[in-house]
Assembly symmetry: D3
Homo-oligomer: 147 residues x 6
C-alpha cells in the first residue's frame, strides 16, 4: 500500500478485532520487561488494593493496542512517536480489548517540509464494558507526493 | 518506599543496568503484540532497506526501557501517562540499551490539587554506541503530603 | 533405536501421557504463528458463537498431538509428511488431550524401492470426554534392512 | 468478509510477507510441543548429520506457514482439514520463508451438499533460495449461497 | 554494591515481593525444561492423585524463589552452589509465594583462604497460607577485604 | 514403571540427549525468574568481565539438566530434594550440554523406615568440551516393596 501525506483523510477509522488479555499475557510481559511489580503479579497483594485484582502493565495494553492495528503496511510512512498516552482505566485479567484508530489531523514537518508531513492518528483502546482503557496519539512521518 | 509530591527533587537521576536486545526479544514481542511486520521479522526484506537489518519494535524498546527502571515501588505514586515519545534511532538485534530517568519537573494536578501533583520524569534509552534510541516523558500522579 | 521398514508391525500402538491445553498454550501458539483470530483470542466474540468459548488452533492440537509421541528416536526413519488431517471436534481451554498412534500399513516407496519404504502411522488425539478431536496419518520414510 | 462456495475462483492467489525462522522460534516450538529431538536442539549432534545444522520442526513450518496467511476472516468458511502435507526441504535457522496459497479446486460435500461445499487451497512454503520447503492442501468447508 | 566477606552479618534478612504462580508459569517451565510429567500438565490425571490438582515443578519454585531475591548486585560475590534443597510442600496454580533469605553463617574457603570466604544464606519460600514450600542454602564465594 | 527402593542398583546410569543452550533460553529464563543481571543479559558489560561473554543462569542449567532426564515415570518415587549443587564452570550461549545420572547410593528414611527409603542419584551436566558445568545429588523418596 502506498498512501501519501496528501491522501490521508481526517476522520478515517480503523477498528481491530477483539482480544482477551489473559494471565499468560501479563506473565509474558513481566518476563519481557522485567517489571514484576506486585500490582501485576501478586494476587494476594492485589486483594488488599482498591481494584482488588491484578492489573495489566500499562506498556502491555499500549503494545497490544498498537499491535492490533498493525495491518496493511504503508510503504511511505513510518512511526515517528506517540503523544498524550493516558491510562484511563485498568485492564484486568479476562478483559477483552479492542483498538480503534482515527486520523485526527495532519501537520507540516518543519525539519523537511518539502518531502514529509506529520499525520496524527488517535488510538483508543476500549474494554468489553464500553469503557476506555487507554488513549494515545500515534504520529506518523509520511512522504509527500513526488512532484 | 513513600515519596510524596513535595519530596521529588528536580534533576534526581536513576540509571538501569544494560540489556542486550536479542532476536528472541523481537520474536517474543511480535508474538505478544501480533505485529509481524517484515521490518522486524524478515531478514531478507530488511537487507533491501536503508538500515540493512531487522529493527526492534518501537513498543519493545519502550516497554523494556520503562521496565528496566521498575525498581523500588513508591506507595503514593502511580503511572499517569507518557508524553513526547520519540523514536530517534532504531535498535538492532545485538544492541545493548540502558535507560536513564531524571526528574524534569513537577506540576499542579488541576483536577484535585489538594491531594495530588504531577511529576514529569524524562526517560532516555541509549545504545552502547552512545546514541539515543528513544526519549519520553513519564508522568506520575503523586500524593501530596498529608496535612 | 534402529527399527527398519521390515520391523514395523501393523497394529503396534503407542500412547502418550495426557496434557491439558491451557489458555497459555493458545496465547503462545498465536504468538508463534501470528494467527490471532477472535475464535482463539476473543472471549466475548466466542460467547456469541456456536461453541460459546475460545477454541485451540488446529495447528496447536496437531503440533502438540504429534509432539506428545516424540519418544525414542528411530535412527533409520524420517518424517515424510501427513495425510488426511481432519479436525473432528474443537479443543477448548481446559480440555485434556491424549495421543494414540498405531501402525496402519506399510507401502513401497516408488522413488527408491531398494533402500526405503513408507510406513503409515495413524494418529488420533482424544479428549478427556472420550471424543476424538483430530485424526491424521503420519507417513515415515524408513530404511530397509541392509542386504 | 463473506465469500460463499460459489464465489471461490480457481487460481486465486494470496501471498504472505516473509518471515525469518529463528533459533528462538525453534526453542519456543520445542517448548510448546515437547519435541526436543537433537535434530532441532543439539548443534553438536547436527554437525555430524547430513544437513550439518539444526532444522526446524515440521510442525513449526506448517504452523507458521498456515498462520502467515491467516488474514481476513471469511464468515462462512471453516477449516476442515489438511491433505498431502509433504516436507520437501528442511528449514534451517536463519532461513526466511514465505507462504503462497492458491485455490486449487472446489468439490461437493457429500454429507450435506445442499448447504456446504469443499474448497481445496494449495499452500506452498518457499525459502529465500527459491526452494520449496513444504506443500499442503488446506480444505475449507464453505457455505453455499442461501437460495 | 561492594560487600566483602567480613561485611556479612549473621541474621541479616532480605524479603521479596510476592508472586502468584500461574498456569502460564508451569507451561513455560515445562517448555523450557522439557519436563511434561502429568503431575504438572494433566489436570485429569492429577484429580486422581493425593493433591487433586497440578503442582509446580520443583525447579520452577527453586528458580523463581532464587530469582525473586536477585536484587542489588554484590560485585565481590558469586554463586558457589546450593545445599539442602528440600521440597516441603507442593505449590499449586494460584498459590502466591514469597522468598526470604537470611545470612546463616560464614566459613573459610579452604582452597584459597587468603582471598575468599564462603557465606551461607538460608532461603525459604513460603506460600500465602504461611506454609513453607521450599528451603535451601545458597552458598556464595565472597572476596575478603583487600589488605 | 514401578521401581521400588530395593530395585535400585548402585551405578545404574541414564544419559540424556544433548541440548544447545541458546540466547533464547537465557532470555526466557530471565523472564521466568526475574533475574536480569547483566552477567546474563548485557553483552557489553560481559565483554569487560573475566569470561568475556554472557553466561547462563545457574538455575537454568540446573532446571534443564534435571528436565533432560525426566524420562519414564517411576510411580513409587518422588523428588525429595537436591544436595551439593555446585556450579563448576559457566555455560555460554551456544554450548551444548548433556546430563548423566547415576545411582550413587541408598539410605534409610528415618521418619518412616518401614515404608520408604532414600535414593541418591548423582547428576552431572557436561559441555561439548568434555568439561563439567554442574554437579548435584538428586534425592528421591522411594517406596519399599509391599510386604
Amino acid at each position: 500500500m502506498t498512501e501519501y501525506f496528501e491522501d490521508y483523510e481526517i476522520g478515517a477509522i480503523r477498528t481491530s478485532h477483539g482480544r482477551t488479555i489473559t494471565e499468560a499475557d501479563i506473565v509474558l510481559h513481566a518476563g519481557q520487561t522485567g517489571d514484576f511489580y506486585p500490582h501485576h503479579m501478586d494476587k494476594e497483594f492485589c486483594q488488599s488494593q482498591p481494584f482488588g485484582q491484578r492489573i495489566a502493565h500499562g506498556t502491555l495494553v499500549l503494545s497490544v493496542g498498537v499491535g492490533m492495528l498493525a495491518g496493511e503496511i504503508n510503504d511511505v510512512a513510518m512511526s515517528y512517536g506517540y503523544d498524550n498516552i493516558r491510562f484511563l482505566r485498568p485492564v484486568f485479567i479476562g478483559d477483552t480489548i479492542t483498538a480503534t484508530a482515527s486520523i485526527a489531523g495532519t501537520r507540516e514537518y518543519s525539519k523537511d517540509p518539502e518531502r514529509y508531513g506529520l499525520v496524527d492518528e488517535k488510538l483508543e483502546v476500549t474494554k468489553q464494558t464500553g469503557e476506555t482503557a487507554l488513549v494515545l496519539t500515534h504520529i506518523y512521518l509520511v512522504e509527500k507526493k513526488p512532484k
